[in-house]
């Protein structure tokens, strides 16, 4: 991805702009000069360009050391600027032209999915999307961002390696960004008598969804014939007889803008509007089939059970249904497809399945498979194989022992002081455990922990990388190993130098406040490992020898405790 250099002026100084994998640098055009401006892509916040193509300029905004700053670059040519812009663009979020508000008609036609305005032209499809994703992930996890800065920006490991370990985060982020945001459901337009109507996009959308006749009128008058402008239409609508009637005010005269579009099909006051015929996708909710299964019998229901008796309500119920339908369908991409016989069968099967009666399936948990269990337990117990596996001789001697064993239970007794001692020690142990537990709960790292924890995170990451590289059978990653080693050593040096100034005091404070603080312990042994392991590892690497992975706590106690 390295590009350039481009000839660019910054602060009226001629210089060169280099694009590196994770950042871009500007250095003055003087021999062997160091870059004076380094902006990591991850820190970019925005960019602006001027309009005059003769003097192409680009202002880049970024947050460095948690403060926002900007840099104005003067380009020699328009083409250069376009390239740089293209490079920066994917990293800059939220500063594009604002997404235009969907036109009311689109919203009304609820079957049409709302195509989201595509973000902005991407330099190269998948890669650019990946970059955006990574950037968003970093933004979401500040601690990860710090790590990223140290490891990737600090060029200790490549960006790919960094992300390979964190695919799950990217996946989570991807799912989150893919989640579509629908319309707000509370946008139900329900004007009241005597209240002023506030017309906005949501109101229009809801009105068009609620009143099919208004939609018909709107489509014809505004969209097809263009007789009225949008504003005129809505102005007239709020003075129409239809509008007043929908508010429940009968007999009021208003204009007849909508009236001729109201017909039998969508007369909300009818019990069975003609339009109401659906081919349901799910036959199990199709109430029509039952209603029409046999000819009507019986007396008509009493007046309370006769639907549609409260006439104004009927229209209201339908308006709610249509509004809700509009909101539901606005987000869905799936066109309504009638269910076929096979799919109907599937849905019946699904509906008649009794989950309780499923045989308990295989658990998703995989059993731990250890190829050589003796070695595993040996490593755990730190006991040699020879002593663990009983031989025939052992068995024979045990047999002999048992045979000649003559227990004299009557003579066996425990003297009082020793039993009291045991009891006391047990009591103390349990008290100590309780106390320690309480202390641990209350324990907080003292101030000044930041650098320790950061260092810890960095070293852990480096170590992990190191062991991945060191155990690579092909041996091709030797160079990488050495690089990481060098880096680690550098940090160890730093730790040593820091020990007296920063880390030791922190550690001291920790230990005075908590004798058994696991966190500090871990930090401590990490530092130990940093010091000890690499020599060991480089020595044995390639011979296929095993490494002691677990910390040597005894040494730790010796050295630091």
């Amino acid at each position: 991805m390295s590009q350039g250099p481009f000839s660019v002026y910054y602060n009226k100084v001629e210089g060169l702009l280099h694009i590196k994998p994770a950042e871009f640098q500007w250095r003055p055009k003087v021999q062997n000069s160091a870059p004076t401006v380094v902006i990591p892509f991850a820190r970019l916040k925005g960019q602006q360009r001027n309009k005059n193509p003769a003097k192409p300029q680009l202002k880049v905004k970024a947050t460095i050391n948690s403060a926002e700053a900007d840099w104005l670059f003067h380009f020699a040519s328009e083409a250069d600027r376009t390239i740089i812009e293209g490079v920066i663009r994917p990293y800059v979020g939220g500063s594009g032209p604002s997404t235009p508000v969907g036109t009311p008609t689109g919203a009304g036609a609820s079957a049409q999915p709302h195509a989201r305005a595509s973000p902005r032209p991407q330099p190269s499809g998948a890669a650019a999307a990946e970059v955006t994703l990574r950037r968003a992930t970093l933004k979401k996890h500040p601690e990860l961002e710090k790590k990223f800065e140290m490891l990737v920006v600090g060029k200790l490991i490549t960006e790919e390696d960094f992300w390979n370990q964190r695919k799950h985060l990217l996946e989570a982020q991807r799912l989150e960004t893919q989640q579509q945001k629908g319309l707000a459901s509370a946008s139900f337009a329900s004007p009241k008598l005597g209240e002023d109507v506030k017309i906005n996009a949501a109101w229009i959308r809801s009105t068009l969804a609620q009143h099919p006749a208004v939609r018909k009128a709107y489509e014809e008058k505004v969209e097809r014939l263009r007789e009225l402008s949008r504003n005129d239409f809505w102005g007239l609508y709020t003075k129409s007889g239809y509008f007043f009637r929908s508010l429940g005010e009968n007999g009021t005269k208003g204009n007849d803008l909508i009236d001729k579009y109201v017909n039998e099909e969508d007369d909300d006051f009818q019990i069975h509007p003609k339009r109401a015929r659906i081919d349901t996708r799910d036959r199990l909710v199709d109430l029509d089939t039952t209603a029409e299964d046999h000819l009507e019998t019986g007396n008509k229901p009493d007046i309370t059970m006769e639907a549609g008796k409260v006439k104004p309500s009927l229209a209201l119920l339908r308006r709610f249904n249509r509004h809700s339908e509009m909101v539901v369908k606005a987000g869905s991409q799936h066109a309504a497809t009638p269910i076929t016989a096979d799919r109907a069968d599937l849905s019946y099967l699904k509906q008649t399945e009794i989950p309780d009666l499923q045989k308990p399936g295989n658990s998703e948990v995989l059993p731990l498979s250890i190829s050589d269990p003796t070695r595993y337990f040996q490593a755990q117990a730190n006991v040699s194989t020879a002593t663990l596996i009983p031989t025939e001789e052992d068995a024979a001697s045990f047999r002999d022992h048992i045979q000649i064993w003559n227990p004299k239970l009557a003579e066996m007794s425990m003297d009082k002081p020793s039993s009291a001692r045991i009891l006391k020690s047990l009591n103390e142990a349990s008290k100590k455990r309780k106390r320690d537990k309480r202390l641990n709960q209350e324990y907080r790292l003292p101030d000044g922990k930041e650098p320790v924890l950061q260092l810890h995170a960095l070293v852990t990451e480096l170590q992990r990388r190191f062991w991945v590289a060191a155990t690579d059978a092909s041996g091709q990653r030797k160079a990488e190993c050495h690089k990481i080693l060098k880096e680690l050593e550098k940090h160890v040096e730093k730790v040593r130098a820091d020990n007296s100034q920063r880390i030791l005091p922190v550690r001291e404070r920790c230990f005075t406040r908590a004798t058994d603080s696991m966190k500090i312990r871990v930090t401590g042994w990490m530092l130990m490992r940093v010091r000890r392991k690499p020599d060991n590892a480089t020595g044995t690497q390639g011979k296929g020898g095993s490494y002691q992975i677990w910390p040597d706590l005894e040494n730790f106690e010796d050295g630091y405790g």
């Binding site: 089939t289 039952t290 016989a341």
Partner: protein
């Protein structure tokens, strides 16, 4: 017991196992309530048969469902009609025998016919339908692929099927039963599933209303008939003469084929049909038309009365005789005579004659039954109305009438439902002696539902849907607050039921005026049941979409409405059900009053007991919708102070009662919300699905249990305790109905 716990499949598997074991292979007639339930039962049956096949059984088995033409028609044009009547009429216009006769001599295409029906008619005797279980959807697909009409195919295959699944009406409604279920053998096993409301279906199948528009339309139809008769007299006098002589000789027209049977069936039950010749004064077509005209005029005069009249059929007939000299006997033959005339005149557009048929059915019914029926004339819709809109109700008060032929004809009848409590009431209501009454328990691994009774709002005002207070602003507001609070805490779907359409419509309007629905929209979308079934289906579908995509929605519907029966709100489709008020029937209804009186006098059931029983069975149906299966969970909120009373609670199914603790019987809104929050949080934790040993037994468990049962049985035998007989053994030797409730 909630749905999805395996009621249907348990019944089916037991009965099918029994059926297939014995050489008689008794047919199973399985009746359910709604079309989706029929479909589901068919799907379960197919699953069962697949399992049996997998276990190595090679069975020749046919399982089919039947529903109306409207749901089965595959004709490209007729099938598109929305209303059942239109489809029926369209179908008849293509399949009536005289139309097919007329088409024979003409060039193909000149007289439109239905290809699917023709293919079925012309199919040779070897044509067969592969054995298997066909859901209605499969039947349509198979019919379409093979060019046969699924509706007539299904009706034809009823005789050969091992299992038939259709709705109650095909057995209980005499008009339909006559055509469809006449030829069912005596040894059929009949199951009424979801039968908690069967008494109402029975009374409804014999009741009808006559209104002014019906009378006007039938008067027009009579005129049309007279014109047709005149036409026929000129063109084909012999035909009328033939009909006359046939009627004279007392020969009932043999029903030539099934298609013809359907034109107009007798509305009375098979036992009550007279085996006599049609009386002389209505044998001639023109006489019959005049007779009808007179009767319609009489009804019109009756409808002019401006006060409420309630009278028995006997007094009505006496009045008819006094005024018009119409005797009872010709009235009884009215339906049959009209059917014969329609066939003679070769009418197809029966759609236009439906009103007249109704009048004829009314005449036959009123002249056949004296007991258990009542005529009520209501000149006004309600007490406040000033414009007359008279309705003459002929109402059947006795549920035993319609179901009696079923009990008499079939040797094994099983009545079952998940909410059949109290069970003692059903034998009285339906007039039978149960052979076995059994209530089965349900196993639960966790308390997956929480019934909460809210008796007052957060402001401590008692809430109730009692008529006197229901429109009180405080009550309306408190109901609204309950909905709002629950919308805030319940994930995904929330379903509300109101006691009546009237109340729902008015409370929605009030909530809208109070701005509460606007607030509600901030948390959930709102979908509301409307009078139109298709519109409501669409709302339901969108409701489910909103629950699926995480937006969440509220569905407002009515306890006795279309949604409350047959639509499940399982899992995310319903995490809570709120019952606003007790779904009592409208007690001012005259029909209800008459029925209550009849029940009190004849069955010794007190009015209040029946009303509460009826309200609670509907309430239980509503709240029961929230659960499907034991892994599901949901809240059941009873928002009415009367729910906390013991007499109401005791009429709820046992499995719901078991979940009701003292602590949740008398709650205010805020307390109930706090409890609901806690419940929802607990329930949302991951749940280990394995029910092994609880509701799922593996082979070891079964063997263990068998041994244990054997051991217990031996001990009981030793102590002289009788072994209890299972349902299946009863099927073999019992002769009579079995009442079965499956409760938790």
């Amino acid at each position: 017991m909630p749905s999805g716990t395996g009621k249907t499949v348990s019944l089916l598997s037991l009965i099918v196992a029994y059926q297939q074991h014995y050489p008689e292979k008794r047919k199973l007639i399985y009746c359910s309530r709604t079309v989706p339930e029929i479909e589901k039962a068919l799907a379960e049956l197919r699953r069962l048969m697949d399992f049996r096949a997998k276990q190595g059984l090679k069975e020749h088995f046919l399982g089919i469902g039947l529903t109306s033409r409207r749901n089965l028609c595959v004709h490209p044009e007729v099938g598109k009609q929305r209303w059942g009547e239109e489809v029926d009429s369209g179908c008849r216009n293509l399949t009536a025998p005289w139309i097919r006769e007329a088409a024979k001599g003409k060039a193909p295409g000149e007289v439109p016919l239905c290809d699917f029906y023709e293919a079925l008619e012309n199919a040779d005797t070897t044509a067969s339908m592969p054995s298997g279980v066909y859901t209605l959807e499969d039947l349509k697909a198979w019919g379409r692929d093979n060019g046969y009409c699924p509706y007539f195919l299904s009706r034809r295959m009823l005789a050969f099927a091992n299992v038939i699944i259709y709705s109650y009406h095909y057995l209980l409604d005499p008009k339909v039963a006559e055509m469809v279920s006449k030829e069912m053998a005596k040894d059929c096993i009949v199951v009424f599933d979801e039968a908690h409301n069967i008494d109402n279906v029975c009374t409804e199948s014999l009741s009808m209303d006559i209104t002014r528009p019906i009378l006007d339309a039938s008067a027009r139809s009579v005129g049309e008939l007279a014109r047709k008769i005149d036409d026929l007299k000129e063109t084909n006098q012999t035909k009328l003469q033939e009909e006359y002589s046939r009627l004279v000789s007392g020969l009932r027209q043999e029903q030539e084929n099934r298609a013809q049977e359907e034109y107009m069936a007798n509305p009375v039950l098979p036992d009550d049909i007279l085996r006599e010749a049609i009386p002389g004064n209505i044998r001639r077509a023109e006489h019959f038309v005049a007779f009808l005209r007179r009767f319609i005029e009489y009804l019109k005069t009756r409808m002019r009365v401006m006060h409420v009249v309630a009278e028995s059929p006997t007094s009505f007939l006496q009045h008819v005789k006094d005024l018009t000299y119409i005797e009872r006997k010709p009235l009884r033959f009215c339906a049959e005579r009209l059917s014969s005339l329609i066939k003679t005149l070769e009418l197809t557009d029966l759609h236009n004659f439906s009103s007249l048929m109704k009048i004829a059915s009314f005449a036959t019914l009123v002249a056949t039954y004296q007991k258990g029926f009542l005529l009520i004339l209501e000149p006004f819709e309600s007490d406040e109305a000033t414009i007359p809109n008279p309705v003459l109700h002929l109402t059947c008060l006795d549920a035993t009438l319609a179901i009696k032929p079923v009990f008499e004809r079939f040797s094994s009848v099983i009545i079952t439902s998940g909410t059949l409590s109290p069970m003692e009431l059903y034998p009285t209501l339906l007039g039978f002696q149960p052979v076995v009454t059994e209530s089965y328990q349900m196993t639960l691994t966790r308390t997956c539902f929480l019934p909460l009774t809210i008796t007052r709002g957060s402001d401590q005002v008692a809430i109730s849907s009692k008529f006197e207070v229901r429109n009180d602003l405080a009550v309306v507001r408190n109901f609204g607050n309950i909905l709002l609070e629950y919308a805030k805490i319940v994930p995904d779907g929330l379903v509300c039921f109101f006691p009546s359409y009237l109340y729902m419509e008015s409370i929605v309007a009030s909530w809208n005026d109070l701005g509460m629905l606007q607030d509600l929209l901030k948390y959930k979308l709102i979908f509301i049941e409307t009078p139109d079934a298709a519109e409501t289906s669409l709302a339901l579908e969108n409701y489910r979409a909103a629950c699926d995509n995480g937006r969440g929605a509220v569905l407002l519907s009515v306890a006795r409405g279309k949604v409350s029966e047959g639509v499940d709100f399982d899992h995310n489709y319903g995490r809570a059900v709120i019952l606003f008020g007790i779904p009592y029937q409208y007690t001012e209804s005259r029909i209800l009053k008459a029925r209550l009186e009849y029940l009190r006098d004849n069955s010794k059931i007190r009015e209040n007991d029946f009303l509460t029983f009826d309200a609670m069975r509907h309430g239980a149906q509503c709240v029961g919708r929230v659960l499907r299966g034991k892994t599901d969970y949901g809240l059941m909120v009873f928002a009415d102070k009367r729910f906390s009373r013991a007499d109401k609670r005791s009429k709820l199914p046992k499995w719901i009662q078991a979940g009701m603790t003292e602590a949740c019987l008398n709650l205010s809104t805020d307390m109930a919300v706090a409890m609901a929050k806690k419940f929802l949080r607990t329930m949302a934790q991951p749940f280990e699905h394995s029910q092994l040993g609880v509701s799922l037994w593996d082979e070891n468990e079964i063997q263990k249990r068998e041994q244990q049962a054997k051991y217990d049985g031996d001990r009981k035998a030793a102590f002289g305790v009788e072994k209890r007989e299972g349902v299946v053994t009863n099927l073999t030797n019992g002769n009579g109905p079995v009442l079965m409730e499956i409760v938790g």
